[in-house]
């Protein structure tokens, strides 16, 4: 075991997967000599050379588009998009092609590839460097969407994403990169994609979150326990697509109450799909309307006003209290 932050944990996953499989390669802007603007690919260039750790020209569509071609050939590229705000420049390559080649060729080709991107706020960054756009990817059939919540699961999920035969969009919360360290086993470990984690058990209410919002949900649960004597169950989704509805429904069947927390804007966001799934799967158990705590539906507000939009502990606690009192 070593204590690593999320950046180092992700770096370890890349290093070990590249050592294990010569078909794995990394490409993106500044991922080589510089080791990536967040240092996730640090030292990989030195270890594996410029042919496997490619400092690509500055063009997202071609980063993902050439990765699609590499994947069709049988390689397993891992692309880094510098910030999720710039992934619209390659969205068509992800949606039109990476997600569809298996279907389009009826299984003759598929795209085993990962597109990593930092997302989310809380880092006092400029426009396009703070937004949460996971809903766009969650809606695309053919893709998987993984959002780890800490160093250890980030490492284990990146390993699974690289080994997964389908294209995986890998969202890394910037706010978590350096937030805390965790014990991470030195030998490779993998976590199944598509499986949520019960981060904390409880019987009164279910808080559902992913990525950086898991810590917010856990802290809110702590406040509810201390101040209200309520036991919240906290579910860390880890994968948004495919969504682990079984775990969600199982939890809400027990608690009867749910609050979904995410940084993406509320309307048509993941919370809507989660609420609908809970209505379908646990309707008779529901004691209160499902609440969504999410960003407001306005274009980016600037980090000076970010706190008023992105969920925080008091907002989650307040929503939980209303749900409990319903």
């Amino acid at each position: 075991m070593v204590k690593l932050n999320m950046v180092k944990a992700l770096n370890l996953a890349l290093l070990q997967e590249m050592e294990r499989d010569p078909d794995v390669l990394v490409l993106g802007e500044d991922v080589g000599v510089d080791g990536g603007v967040f240092r996730v690919t640090e030292d990989l260039h030195r270890t594996f050379g410029g042919k496997r750790v490619i400092d690509s020209p500055l063009a997202e569509a071609a980063i993902v588009g050439t990765a699609v071609g590499m994947a069709l050939y049988g390689l397993k590229p891992v692309c880094e998009i510098q910030f999720s705000g710039f992934a619209f420049q390659c969205f068509h390559q992800i949606e039109n092609h990476a997600a569809r080649y298996r279907q389009r060729t009826q299984g003759r080709f598929h795209c085993q590839m990962v597109v990593r991107m930092p997302y989310g706020g809380g880092v006092r960054a400029l426009e396009h460097h703070s937004e949460s756009e996971e809903q766009f990817y969650a809606q695309v059939p053919g893709l998987k969407l993984v959002v780890p919540s800490g160093p250890r699961n980030a490492r284990a999920l990146l390993v699974s994403a690289i080994r997964d035969p389908d294209p995986v969009i890998f969202f890394e919360a910037k706010a978590l990169y350096h937030a805390h360290k965790e014990e991470v086993p030195e030998e490779t470990e993998a976590l199944p994609i598509g499986q949520a984690r019960v981060a904390q058990e409880g019987r009164d209410l279910t808080l559902i979150a992913y990525g950086a919002m898991v810590r917010v949900a856990l802290e809110a649960a702590e406040v509810l326990r201390a101040e209200d004597g309520a036991e919240a169950e906290v579910i860390d989704l880890l994968t948004l697509s495919p969504l682990d509805r079984e775990t969600l429904v199982g939890s809400v069947a027990k608690t009867g109450r749910a609050v979904v927390v995410h940084e993406a804007p509320r309307s048509f966001g993941p919370g809507a799909e989660i609420a609908a799934s809970l209505m379908e799967g646990a309707f008779l158990a529901l004691e209160a309307p499902i609440r969504r705590v999410a960003a407001v539906d306005v274009p980016w507000v600037g980090f000076a006003r970010e706190k008023a939009s992105v969920p925080d502990v008091p907002r989650v606690v307040a929503a939980a209290r209303e749900t409990l009192a319903f």
Binding site: G65, G69, H92, Q103, T105, G142, R245
Partner: protein
């Protein structure tokens, strides 16, 4: 601190070997074996005949919208004829002749245009990508394939097709730039057929040629008479050999013309003159190549009839395909079917079972299937 012209040595050739009057530049004439010449001509004629047949099939509602190739046979066959089977071919959506050359069965192409995904599945050993519809987006794939070939140490070459309109797309420029920087074995074949639906090349670019765009990306570009199969072949062969020798990418601009409609949903009389079309009909690639082969006594008598029979057989195979099984739509969404799709498949299966007509009693003849285009009864409508 003087201001001095840079010595860039930028130049673009135009290549023509066999012109529309039948004049041949014997010094440039490529050395192509008689059997290959015959096969090239055969595939060009097959492409033309199939095109015409497909227009009729579309009008009859037996296949959906498609993009005819009429007039562009030389650009396609001259280029793909220089590939080996282990090389890759990356088409756009107007490459029927090239696809036939690469071994796509006619009935499979028909299935594709009849909206069946099976039509887009290359054979297990076939190194072809399927038709790509979003303009120019296949070009980064070609560059990625070429990078992968180089990475693995294979000597495969990748050839990609696209139109003049595609050269305005960002993906074209990004792919060109990556190809140049990575120095990969890719041959980019632009079929400049003068039109992108209704937009003429003049409104597409202010460049004098499309070929010259390669120079900005640091690799050679050449313009060829795209209706001259010998010129296209010669330029492609040179590009393929360069790629194989590790000398990087080439852009080939084939100056050609789309003699037919953009797609079967298009009416070109709205945007171009009959006179222009007639002008280009004079430069028909088939006439020119046919005359060249005739001089070499390589023309096969009865070829058209033979090819028409081949097409008729394929149409019959296509028409006898069993109906598409809707439930297979889930099979290739993911490597392994996730839980929510298992549930959706079951839901669809149950819905179809509920709405399907009762099977006929033993001995009773099957009711005729509804005619295409005919309104279906309400019990089918869901």
């Amino acid at each position: 601190m003087p201001r001095t012209p840079l010595d860039l040595r930028l130049s673009v050739d135009h290549l023509s070997i066999l012109d529309s009057d039948g004049n041949l530049d014997t010094a440039l004439e490529p050395d192509i074996a008689a059997g290959d010449l015959k096969r090239m001509y055969r595939t060009m004629v097959l492409g033309r005949r199939l095109d015409e047949r497909m227009v009729r099939l579309q009008r009859q509602g037996r296949i959906g919208t498609f993009a005819p190739i009429k007039g562009q046979e030389a650009s396609q066959i001259g280029a793909v004829a220089t590939l080996r089977r282990e090389d890759w071919m990356v088409p756009s959506f107007r490459e029927t002749a090239a696809m036939l050359w690469r071994g796509w069965p006619i009935e499979q192409l028909l299935a594709f245009f009849a909206g069946r995904l099976e039509g887009g599945r290359p054979a297990p050993d076939q190194r072809d990508l399927p038709i790509t519809i979003p303009v120019a987006t296949q070009l980064p794939h070609a560059v990625g394939l070429a990078y992968a070939a180089q990475y693995r140490g294979d000597d495969a070459v990748v050839m990609a097709f696209f139109g003049d309109g595609a050269t305005s797309e960002g993906d074209f420029h990004e792919a060109m730039n990556f190809a140049g920087v990575w120095h990969v074995p890719v041959v980019l074949v632009c079929q400049n057929n003068q039109w992108a639906i209704s937009v003429p090349i003049k409104k597409q670019t202010h460049s004098r040629t499309l070929a010259q765009k390669a120079l900005a990306y640091g690799f050679p570009g050449i313009q060829v008479d795209g209706n001259d199969v010998l010129a296209v072949y010669a330029a492609s062969r040179e590009a393929v050999l360069r790629a194989q020798a590790g000398e990087g990418p080439t852009l080939i601009e084939c100056v050609t013309y789309r003699l037919g409609v953009h797609t079967t949903a298009d009416d070109p009389t709205k945007y171009r003159s009959e006179a222009e079309v007639r002008e280009w009909e004079r430069k028909d690639p088939l006439t020119r190549f046919g005359a060249y082969l005739e001089k070499k006594t390589l023309l096969e008598p009865g070829l058209e009839e033979e090819l028409d029979a081949e097409i008729a057989r394929a149409v019959a195979v296509f028409e006898s395909l069993p109906p598409a099984d809707p439930l297979t739509m889930f099979e290739h969404a993911y490597g392994e079917l996730p839980a929510h799709l298992r549930a959706q498949r079951q839901e669809v299966g149950e819905r179809l079972a509920r709405t399907a007509p009762d099977p006929p009693a033993a001995g009773e003849p099957l009711p005729p299937p509804p005619m295409r285009g005919q309104r279906k009864t309400s019990r089918w409508s869901n």
